[in-house]
Symmetry: D4
Subunit: 245 residues, 8 copies
């Protein structure tokens, strides 16, 4: 409210008129009260860079957004759910594309922080989702470590990562089918676990609903859940958790 | 078909007439062709004693059935889902009642077999279902061992039972909430695992559907599943699996 | 693995025999490899005090657990989902009972930490769940602030808490019906938001499933979700997030 | 019933015979009792022009209907869910095609009324549905204003349209994912809000069911809901609401 | 913003100090910027009187709210979902209670408007919901007419109300079971139809979901839908539709 | 339309005036055009006696309806879903009450027809539904035969009724749990089979949905299905099927 | 059992030996006890011709079956769910193909019976299912009449078919979306109504589940239901209903 | 633990150093403590050969795995869900491909055991799943017998296999649509029955959920269930059941 006080002082001194204060207070310019313009200042407001969800957008549309960002210096940018085909059409812009996670970044990533997000992936079919989570967290400044192929049917392999679990500041656990891995991991960990159900499975997996329900009903403490296949959401939240405040 | 041959011989020799054979062959007395009368001879046909599902039956009705069985010597008998209140009304018949599993037996149980059914129970709230499974399997002649409170959030406790797992001939794994325990156990075992989801949980457990779906989507091999809270079904199938053939 | 090396040295020197090492390595005493006995050492392993889920437990059972804990000095302890009736039966043990959240604690709570968990509650019917979250987080050492009655249909009231949002290190957002409040809050915050759907509502709220699905599909970044009515889970995870590491 | 009285008078006077009255009263020509023939007179009966739902109809079939309408002067006509491909095959008939909403109109639209339908659209992926709603309402004579990209995760942008909300006579709020926007808007408005869930989303959005349930459970007053992606239905009802009566 | 201008004038003239304006503008008292205090001024903001949803509130709590309202002159007030038992405890306050709809009002209702809301009720079991809708609409100033027992299995009875349909400005159609009545009515009407599914039915009615889905999929134009049993919501929206603007 | 012609003749001859015809033709008394008055003439229109669905009606309300029917001679009447408690309050009216099916009749039933409805009931818990079906069909004039306790797990018992199946003109098959019995029966029959799922079961029976889905997916030809526990509906349709036309 | 008697006579006379009778009676050739060989004698057993469900079968497989049937004189035959493409590959066999219903017949159809099946179809998109029902019923010997485009939103058009309804012996009502038409028709009819839900619709139609649930919950008497899009099942049952017995 | 004892002996004798034992015991190579390396020694641990789930894997990836297995002598291997197209690309490796079940094996199968798994298949569309079950069981050493086309609508054909049922040691029952066949078979058998629901069906079969629910609710004893279309899981469990222990 300091700015308002300044304005009031100016107003009393006759430097500005009544309307200037009314405008300032009215809802429309509310964003200027510290929230900035949506298009260019979101990074300022929420402290995070821009992200483009590519699914459903055409290559030329993504190109348009990217070009505007390059022009305004609004980098780095993360592009998720980007098909290989579209990625190839954007290659000349200098994007860095990861085929498995279908993510791309453009611009220099922020310096890696001190605290670690550990990403566990149950099966090879879950890798795209785990990759999206890892790249998102790294894009937002987190240090990321990844472990794959640690399903609960071979529990000893999973247990062999106890040391990595102990060192992590936040864990993302990605699993399809019965989605039980996050519960086991949370039982081994002292940090928050974000569970990501995937649509991997068939029949009664109901497109990932079985894994989702399983994770929501976890008997282990410290587990929160995101939408099916939402690697981005998990990476984003994990990065918020490990960010320095 | 030996009996038919006998009848045919009798018929040729004029001892019986044509109608006797037609009657014998016709659909109605089909049960006499080796399948026996339903009420008293089911044990002969399927090789198992009688079971009464008490839910929805009144105490006096159960008493009626039991008294007839006592009269015809059709013992032992198992009664499942029997409330404490009804059990008390039947005490004078000499039933052996277990309050936790809400099961009762009447008559001498068959001799314990050589092969073992191992019953794992995830939480204390799952005990009624695990108890029903254990009593049913024992009632059908299996040797039964039980382990409780081995949820997957404390995985090391579960792992400490590896030796028991190795000795079992069939495993029943009872769990509510996310229902992940059977998958972990199947990864440690070389014998069939029967998973029993329970209705323990709240919210998105959907009355046990979350656990059920989880078990059906198990990434571990060797897991089959029964209905929610169906301890009887699991115990019955386990006993069939370990029976001498 | 240092202990193993010591043992090996002792073994070579003839102080212990072969069996001692085999025992140490075998699965059963695995817990002694730093994981401790489940009953009394869990606090050591996961760094959190004990919690009793009272639903489905009888008063005398809870009393038994509490008395053992008092004896072993295993305090403080948190009891959730404790009905008023049961609480009254336990009053003499010195529990501190909160009627709205149906939670009780026994023993001195840990010192309040420096970082804040902010609990938003949409409607008065959601208060029990929000209270459970707040008490759980406080029980685990977090500083907790609560705001109630901030549904999204009166958005300006919610917006008036922007300052509190800015000061929080983690936010818990509790809402039933359409469950939209966490999305709005996440749009205003720079810290992780844990969304808790409640079973408040009727008809197509499907016992809280509508709110749960809504939260899982949040268009805002930084939202993770727990089970319906699971205030405890949210408080627990929030406390893990704000704990000093 | 005035017409019947006239006929009866004519009948008594011998101008018409008995059969004429029986015909008039019998069920078949019921439509002539003020409801008109279905094909050509529906506009008269319900006061609205004809609409063709193009999905599932082939281009030549739509052409057939349109040509008959042109011939009988039954214009204007609205065609919804018309693919670009089919639209091109009908270009020569003079249709006015909007690619985003996949709607086309043929013939002069009715004069714009005095009262306003305001269409809010949450995300760019929801634009086809919002467009269908806007075109339908305009086609039925309403004045339509549209605002896009006002998701609730950036609530201040939405709030900046308070003035538009105040001026509207009916609001259509189109949103996918968690579908929370209509609730926020209804809290800001004094007029009826029609919520349109879209199938935008993935995983637990369940093809739009999450948004639909969210809207049905709105904690804000004054919200009614239509089927998933049913922009037409919302536009139609909104136009009925703002029509002069 | 007139009040702000006044304040600014006062401020310039030295009548009030800077803090008074800051207080006025700051987010907390935001409601005073034209939105009023929630408790007492909501009527001003949205133009509607106060409503109390009694379900889950105790009689003494409702009494408390009512007494404050009486004191502040904030009448009339509508109380919905009020059980007969609670109503009796509040009788001395002078509430006007309707047993069927379980609604009560206190204070003089607004003058009946010129435009009509017509409430159709399919079966006698749907009467509580239809009653809630009727009372709510009347409470908000609408003229209300009601017709009961017009299920679609006796279609001619329903058709006999064509004249009433023609005279209505908005129709509420309340039905359980297959929920088809609103579609038939919308085919006969030229005004908006608000469909209210009820939980009347059994088995595959799924607590009203069958009726809800039926209404959302209506093949008739002009139908919007509210939550199961949400007579209040329908009455509220209908009153908004027929209000003079 | 014969009556109309008569009236017209009378009108021309001056026996009746214009208004009499207008009244006759107007929508309200439409029922007199061959459809009769709803209350008293429904039997005429659809050829069936009156039925009262007692669930949700109070004893005194049912008494009121019955007394009016007795007075107008509108007997026989069938009352379904009538609790024992209510039945006792109506005893003095002379109703004939069946405790298992919770049905009562009042008045002399129509003469038994020549064609037979055969009712199969899978388990003893399904008897109330089967009984409702049998009584309804008999009430409507059908000859009814019933067979109980013929679940498919003891298929030979079911097969022993081939002769009864061959003699039936329509079969009703009532089953809960997996609901497979109607499929087996339809494979043995040459007449229409009406399948009635019951809510008997637990867990994944989902209140009868499992049986309902099973019956809808029957691999046998000639099966149609009614709602869960809808014995009345099955009996009614079966009676229509066997009625002489 | 006549054949058995013959065999017994032959046996007594020494024409056949004991084994011949044992073979005849044993389970394998059970079909010869009056049930015939499945492939060729099913018509005899159930009194209906053969039907081929073409979906999932390749053209050459269908050809194989048809050629065998032609050879053995097992005609006529009905083929359902036959794509146009496959139909063209079978043209040379002389099949009679209907493109809308995707059904084909081969061989002379049975003489049309005296009793009528009336098929109502709600919308043009429902025509394939209605066509399948009509062809199936006709194939089985019923007289079939069809009426299309009689949705309930234009109720007067539907009412204009009262006379056809009165003449029918059984009615099939085919509808998608809200599936309400069968309820309206059953209210107008005195004969059994078979309701067929179709998958026509989108969003909350849930692939036809909305229509299915609607029909199962019909408030009208005399309605039974078949699976979504199961025109064949409806036609089959309707033909059984109208067959002479 | 024998290997550990050996190592200890070697260590005491100075043949190996301390580190060798630490390495052996440490968590990573934990598998060597009797559980073997995952890639090559799984057969040792669980007593079963390797299996590749081909769905979602590319031909070249499968080739890579197979070539490594051939090199290490890790045969036989089973490949499930292998499309014909991929199979052709692997032909040169010498795989034995079954087109119907889409399974392939490579290497000599284990000797057929003494005990029999009997696979029942309801319809021809269920053959791929039944085939997968049969090949899996055989691959694991079981003796397998198969019976097809024994749906319950032609119950006598199913009954004719009583002798085969009597001889089996474990039965797999594969069925889609209403999934009732396993219940009938379990009523005829004295051995465990594993029910496999298939996704065969349409409409209310809900992708196999109807069959799955049906099987879980079986009224027959001795039935356990696997996921929809999970022939592999059923074959695997059946082989475990009949294996010599």
């Amino acid at each position: 409210m300091d700015k308002l006080k300044e304005l009031l002082k100016d107003y009393k001194e006759g430097k500005i008129d009544e309307e200037a204060i009314v405008d300032y207070v009215s809802l429309k310019p509310f964003e200027d009260l510290g929230f900035a313009k949506v298009d260019h200042h979101r990074r300022v407001r929420q402290g995070v860079p821009e992200v483009i969800f590519a699914e459903g957008k055409k290559a030329f549309q993504i190109r348009g957004i990217l070009e505007e960002m390059i022009k305004s210096g609004d980098l780095p940018v993360l592009i998720t759910r980007l098909s290989k085909k579209k990625a190839e059409k954007l290659k000349d812009l200098g994007i860095d594309y990861d085929e498995i996670s279908r993510c791309a970044t453009l611009g220099e990533l922020p310096k890696e922080g001190d605290r670690t997000v550990l990403v566990f992936c149950a099966g090879t079919s879950d890798l795209p989702v785990a990759g999206e989570a890892a790249i998102t967290a790294r894009f937002m400044g987190a240090k990321v470590r990844s472990v794959s192929d640690v399903g609960i049917s071979g529990i000893h392999r999973l247990l062999s990562f106890q040391e990595e679990i102990n060192k992590a500041d936040c864990i993302i656990a990605v699993a399809g089918m019965e989605g039980a891995m996050p519960s086991v991991i949370a039982g081994l960990a002292r940090v928050p676990v974000i569970a990501v159900p995937t649509s991997v499975g068939y029949g009664a997996s109901l497109g990932g609903m079985a894994a989702l329900l399983s994770m929501l009903n976890s008997c282990a403490n410290g587990v929160t859940v995101v939408n099916i296949d939402n690697g981005f959401g998990a990476g984003y939240s994990a990065a918020l958790i490990v960010q320095e405040r």
